[in-house]
């Protein structure tokens, strides 16, 4: 057993209000440079919708991620020989219009304009060419379901659902999906990089682009099924979410997580069995990838795991953080958090608690077996998003959230414990109190349990301001 460490994130979609506060500090700190204007290492998508870049989830179009060929994992975009033959023109590369053409406004006009009868106006100008432009697409263009009637049918998560019904105003549903790099266990971007510039850090599993080794072949951009590696059109190299590693190393949460006003994000350590990663990613049935993914995660309280981890040189503070990991509890112990599109076979490490939703006005005719089927957000849609279409794990998570609410409501309102709803979902009052605390009350130190990195380089002050993106200083 080879034990590896991964910093993972869980986002509680049940609490996301779509305020985009997470995107702002990320943008301000990491991607407010020339060539990076269009990049959002963290963005918040409104679902249903086709997202950013357009239809990123549709791998028949974008050909990202992995597929199985005779039981073996293979990049969906083709193997090494295919890449070598197409290296002068990557057929699967999205262009900037699939994201959006970045624009700015000529604010100086407001100041320079001479006194006139009418107020001066500012026109949008392309940040690519500097020419005036008429924005027709942008980040969050679909926010609050804007334009859903036009774009909604392009959302692949409607597979198996009568999407036309859900695109009617009466039955429409909506929730937000904040997205960032998944820092996958089996990252397709890393496997796609001809230069070997992308790598996964052994200490914390963060996937990074070595900016001095990137030669701009662009296969990582098309290879990532989440489209979270970006191409800087000025410098000609790839950039991606770095999970704010300079902050994580100091024990601080990422900017997106720290700034979240809804406190929906959790960060912590997971221990996993690195030897069986490709095996789990190559699980034949896409619906069995999520269970195989769970099986990779090791119990940090298990004495054998701890012993093996120590013998493999994993630091004591990392093991301590793993034992108190909020993400391990949400993912593995309570089964509340689910991976995003496990069928891409990259074993993503940013997990999502599915959202509850109001009861729909259109209550299904006849008697419904399951109250969950009356929720506005169809379970099948969430299952397509989070479990490759397998509904039972989504139902379990939603039922547990519902049972917790019912239990806590009775306790608060009636002053008594009614464990009946808990029995049906396999929870006990003690566990529910823990879940309730973590999801509703937990302060910063409980939501983010991060070990600091060992200080190995005493030249750190000397290098201050001298590293990072070369053009940013």
């Amino acid at each position: 057993m080879k034990i590896s460490v991964q910093i993972a994130m869980v986002l509680n979609l049940d609490k996301c209000i779509g305020c985009h506060t997470c995107s702002i500090p990320c943008k301000n700190v990491w991607t407010n440079r020339p060539g990076a204007e269009y990049m959002w290492f963290n963005n918040v998508e409104c679902k249903p919708g086709i997202g950013y870049p357009k239809q990123w989830e549709d791998q028949e179009r974008h050909r990202g991620g992995w597929e199985l060929e005779n039981g073996h994992l293979r990049l969906k975009a083709g193997g090494k020989v295919h890449k070598a033959l197409n290296i002068f023109h990557n057929p699967d590369l999205p262009t900037i219009d699939d994201y959006y053409e970045p624009w700015d406004y000529d604010y100086q006009r407001l100041i320079d304009s001479p006194r006139r009868r009418h107020q001066p106006s500012v026109r949008p100008r392309s940040q690519l060419t500097g020419e005036p432009m008429d924005p027709k697409w942008g980040p969050n263009w679909e926010d609050d379901l804007a334009g859903l009637a036009e774009t909604g049918s392009g959302d692949p998560n409607f597979s198996g659902l009568e999407k036309d019904a859900y695109l009617q105003f009466r039955d429409v549903f909506m929730f937000w999906l904040p997205r960032l790099c998944e820092h996958c266990l089996n990252p397709a971007c890393v496997a796609s990089c001809p230069s070997g510039a992308l790598y996964k850090r052994a200490e914390d599993g963060i996937v990074l682009v070595d900016q001095e080794r990137c030669r701009g072949w662009r296969y990582c951009v098309s290879g990532c099924p989440y489209k979270k590696v970006y191409f800087n059109w000025q410098t000609g190299r790839a950039e991606k979410c770095i999970l704010c590693y300079p902050r994580l190393e100091a024990g601080l949460p990422t900017l997106c997580a720290h700034s979240c006003v809804g406190r929906i994000r959790y960060l912590g350590v997971l221990l996993y069995d690195a030897e069986h990663v490709s095996e789990a990613a190559a699980t034949p049935d896409p619906r069995q990838i999520y269970p195989a993914h769970l099986d990779l995660l090791l119990d940090p309280r298990d004495a054998n795991v701890q012993k093996a981890a120590r013998s493999q040189g994993i630091a004591e503070n990392v093991l301590a953080a793993a034992r108190h990991s909020p993400v391990h509890a949400l993912i593995k112990e309570w089964r509340l958090a689910l991976p995003l599109h496990p069928e891409f076979r990259t074993l993503p490490m940013v997990w999502y608690v599915p959202p509850l939703s109001p009861v729909a006005s259109r209550v299904a005719s006849g008697e419904t077996v399951d109250a969950l089927d009356q929720l506005r957000i169809p379970v099948a849609y969430l299952a397509n998003l989070l479990t490759a279409g397998d509904e039972p794990p989504v139902r379990l998570a939603l039922k547990r959230l519902g049972a917790m609410r019912e239990f806590m409501r009775v306790r608060r309102v009636e002053g008594r414990d009614a464990p009946k709803p808990l029995d049906a979902v396999g929870l006990d009052p003690e566990t529910v109190e823990k879940i309730y605390r973590l999801l509703a009350l937990a302060p910063l130190a409980e939501r983010f349990v991060l070990p600091t990195a060992p200080v190995a380089d005493d030249g750190i002050y000397r290098r201050q301001g001298a590293c990072g993106y070369g053009d940013a200083v």
Partner: protein
């Protein structure tokens, strides 16, 4: 006259080769961050396909054709029963094919740089010089194939081998036609300029990718 030949066909090639070697070393040490092809496919993809594919495959085979035809002496070919006229015939037709591909390709790429507003924005003076030099060198080469009809195997080829083996003999270039002289001189200049341009991406051809494991792990703290 001798001095001119020495300057143009001995001193100048070595100057360019020196710039080539030292330039690459210097660029790699000081500017690894800028060592990239600076692809513009992300900004404009449709008109790139034909030009990029034609140019790259054309120029790669042109390179191997030059290396095989010029650096290997004719007497080696004679050992294998390939006579000089057969060699020249093969060189003519293969050179014509790949040369035309490369030339059309670079013209398409140059045209794209001029007419696509987004691509024009990311085009630097350096890029313009690079594309211009490539057009000149490839154009002269193609002119020689089409209209030169000159056997280079016993004059130009030995001269190149002399440069490479550090036994230069500029007198070999005496009877070589002007268009060939211009072609080689422009090519040396391009070679000397290449380390300072985006052409450095040639050295990053990802051969190791074919051998390495798919997932790369790196350890921050050694030990």
């Amino acid at each position: 006259m001798d001095l001119a030949y020495t300057l143009v066909f001995t001193v100048f090639p070595y100057l360019c080769l020196t710039a080539f070697v030292l330039g690459h070393a210097c660029r790699y040490i000081t500017d690894r961050y800028g060592w990239t092809a600076r692809s513009s496919e992300f900004l404009e993809k449709k008109s790139l396909w034909a030009g990029s594919t034609l140019f790259h495959w054309g120029i790669i085979f042109t390179f191997f054709g030059h290396a095989g035809g010029l650096l290997i002496p004719q007497r080696v070919f004679d050992l294998f029963g390939i006579r000089a006229d057969a060699h020249m015939t093969v060189a003519y037709w293969s050179g014509l094919a790949v040369g035309v591909a490369a030339f059309i390709g670079i013209l398409l790429l140059a045209w794209r740089r001029l007419v696509q507003p987004r691509v024009r924005v990311v085009t630097t003076v350096n890029d313009a010089v690079t594309v211009g030099a490539l057009i000149v060198v490839i154009g002269l080469g193609l002119y020689n194939v089409l209209f030169g009809h000159y056997n280079v195997l016993y004059t130009l080829a030995p001269w190149i081998r002399g440069i490479v083996t550090f036994t230069p003999d500029p007198t070999l270039m005496r009877e070589v036609p002007l268009s060939y002289k211009l072609h080689v001189t422009a090519a040396w200049a391009l070679l000397g300029f290449s380390p300072f341009s985006r052409l450095v991406h040639i050295w990053s051809v990802p051969i190791y990718y074919l051998l390495r494991r798919p997932i790369v792990m790196r350890r921050l703290v050694q030990g």
